[in-house]
Symmetry: C2
């Protein structure tokens, strides 16, 4: 706490208010932090979970088993509790982690990491499983070590993430942009449209899952946009970038004509871009070409339109009648998150512990060799052992029922 | 067939015998090819499979749903049936695919791809879902298109794979090296050690899953190495690169002193490197530092030693008493494979249809907004719907049993 107070002292007046707030680690936040760690402790041990168990031949058994990725390097914003959350998830999933937090939180991070390393000394886990680096120069060196580091997870500004993506051969998991859209369909319930749009935009505008673009079907422009515009204004939205079809329905004092670039912009503040679309297909095309594959939402009462949108929009999260702000590891019930991925491979969307795991195939035989298999020789059985269990259960139920019925009949016969 | 005959004609005397054999597509191979396609048709549709179904709150439902990765670019050797296998897997998993086969098979590939595109015309799937490029120059251009191509899968020589890995920003899935090891533990059954080593090395020496390094525990050197060496020689092994501890036990006429580089070499032919290790830990360290994370095997009768090896060796496949040659999509029962991955992220090991899928999160609400959740407000339920089903089943079984038992008792009472 005292180190955090020093960080706060040093940062006073030098960073934006929002960032200053995040830097602070008051007692309430600290209690929450510990609660988070307890939550991770409470999760089932993910290492060793068998996701495929197949008999290839008599005595030759294949298992696909979850195992850690290896050494992670996580670069995150000046938010001290992140160091602990990330380290907990890494540890629980059997990974080693190199942490680099925002430099404004250097003292806090050093105190927290040294406390965690101290704790590791009482365990079988080497304390170097959690390491902290504090300068940008260190990160620069680390990004060259593709032989030793298996995954880089950068959180933070778009420019930071882009720069890292372009300067390393180590796989990078995360997202550079969070350009999320809400599409109000012609069959939307207007009240739902207002609620979802306003929450998506104003609940926490700096978050990557906040809405940046509002698309409205041309048949519902007037009905939906007037109340949405009023509510956005009353909730503090300072600027609306509207296309020529929508501008007339929005509060004049905060609305300006949009430029094409506005629909590719992550405002990250109380600004939003608004556009009219001719159809759901138009909305899908706009999102797939302008969005960042993060999280996009349709508001409609028509479930088949919702289905069309959710299948065709190519994003990590596709939502129906729910705020884009739900795109978060805690809200998904992952206990904690290390970040949100817009990658298409491995983990996609909010990344919890599962995203920090890979698997290996374990094959156990009794001296089995490939030469003995083939046409006219031994054949592969490819029998899934999991399925077998289910079959066993069904079988067991049948047996129990038969026994009971036969028993009842016997009892009846005996008594009659 | 006639196009393939032309390819064979053109290649005659210009390529190694092994490669010439693979280029040919005789009637027998063609029938097998069609059987393979039928096999892929028979697989369950993988798109849309729900791998997580969680209620976040009353009426707010999260599903993680399997979906295709997008556009794949697969570069493969001069082996015509590969074009059809890869295209089948891509199509079944909902992906589009750009194929580039070895140039010696250009005419065969063109005929096969045009037949597949012709077939697509009778379906709702656009024929451009399967495309063929034929020059290296084309590949060079494609590797720049990271905005449009989602995954590159190169198969073939180490230098080809390395070159592709280094020249594109598109994720690359595959392996450059296949340096697989067999470790003969002090508690190995010698007969098993001979079988597994010989099959791993000689069954198909050009394959990536063939054994290149043999590690032998110092306590079993004489007992194991003499029969292994003799059998390797009788099966045509032409050269053994042996360290100073093992050289005396191996056939002198084909054995030479090893250099350090031999233990980092994928011979790809009937050569093998042999080394003595002091312990299982030594073997593990050697494999983790010299291997290529492909497939490695321990031969031992001690199951706890096997467990130690399989947990600590950091490879896509870790085997116990079974030939490394089993590392293959067909043998694993995946129906077909697009390649073997030594990546640590996404798919690892032999890659079948599952490796060509990603997922998206679908969230359906009734106007749910984040603002209404939090301390003293709505709380997340995080109830897994899958688990609920299992509970329902247990519940159902109990109810059925109770009814039957009560029924039996009633019958008894009535009859008495």
């Amino acid at each position: 706490m005292s180190e955090n107070r020093k960080d706060l002292e040093n940062a006073k007046g030098k960073i934006p208010n929002q960032m200053y707030k995040r830097l602070g680690l008051g007692e309430k936040k600290y209690v929450q932090l510990l609660k988070g760690v307890s939550g991770v402790i409470g999760l089932n041990d993910p290492v060793g979970i068998v996701t495929l168990h197949r008999e290839l031949h008599d005595g030759l058994n294949l298992k696909r088993v979850a195992c850690p990725i290896g050494v992670l390097c996580v670069i995150f914003e000046a938010r001290p509790e992140a160091a602990v959350q990330i380290a907990s998830l890494a540890l629980k999933s059997g990974n080693a982690v190199i942490l680099k937090g925002g430099s404004e939180a250097n003292l806090s991070n050093r105190a927290l990491v040294s406390a965690m390393r101290e704790a590791l000394k009482c365990t079988d886990v080497p304390e170097d499983t959690i390491q902290l680096v504090s300068s940008r120069q260190d990160v620069h060196h680390l990004l060259k070590l593709d032989e030793y580091i298996d995954l880089v997870i950068p959180r933070g500004s778009r420019s930071l993430v882009r720069k890292i993506q372009q300067s390393t051969r180590i796989p990078v998991m995360g997202h550079a942009d969070g350009i999320c859209s809400v599409y109000v369909d012609e069959e939307a319930n207007v009240e739902t449209a207002v609620r979802v749009t306003v929450d998506s935009k104003t609940n926490y505008p700096a978050a990557c899952n906040a809405c940046e673009t509002l698309l409205v079907h041309h048949k519902i422009l007037e009905k939906a946009l007037i109340p949405i515009g009023m509510k956005l204004k009353s909730r503090g939205v300072t600027k609306i970038h509207a296309d020529k079809h929508t501008i007339q329905y929005l509060p004049q004092d905060i609305t300006v004509p949009s430029k094409e670039q506005d629909f590719r912009t992550e405002f990250g503040c109380l600004e939003i871009a608004v556009k009219c679309v001719k159809s759901t297909k138009d909305a899908i095309d706009h999102i797939n070409s302008h969005g960042s594959s993060h999280t996009d939402c349709i508001v409609t009462e028509n479930s088949s339109t919702a289905k069309q949108f959710m299948n065709a929009v190519d994003s990590a999260g596709v939502y129906h009648n729910a705020s884009t702000r739900f795109a978060d590891g805690f809200r998904y019930g992952f206990g904690a998150e290390v970040g949100v991925s817009t990658n298409r491979l491995h983990a996609r969307g909010p990344v919890g512990m599962e995203g920090l795991l890979t698997y290996k195939y374990k094959l156990s035989g009794k001296g089995h060799i490939v030469e003995e298999f083939g046409v006219g020789k031994k054949e592969y059985t490819h029998r899934d052992v999991q399925e077998e269990k289910k079959r066993d259960m069904t079988c067991m139920i049948s047996v129990v029922l038969s026994v009971v019925v036969v028993g009842a009949l016997c009892v009846r016969k005996m008594l009659s």
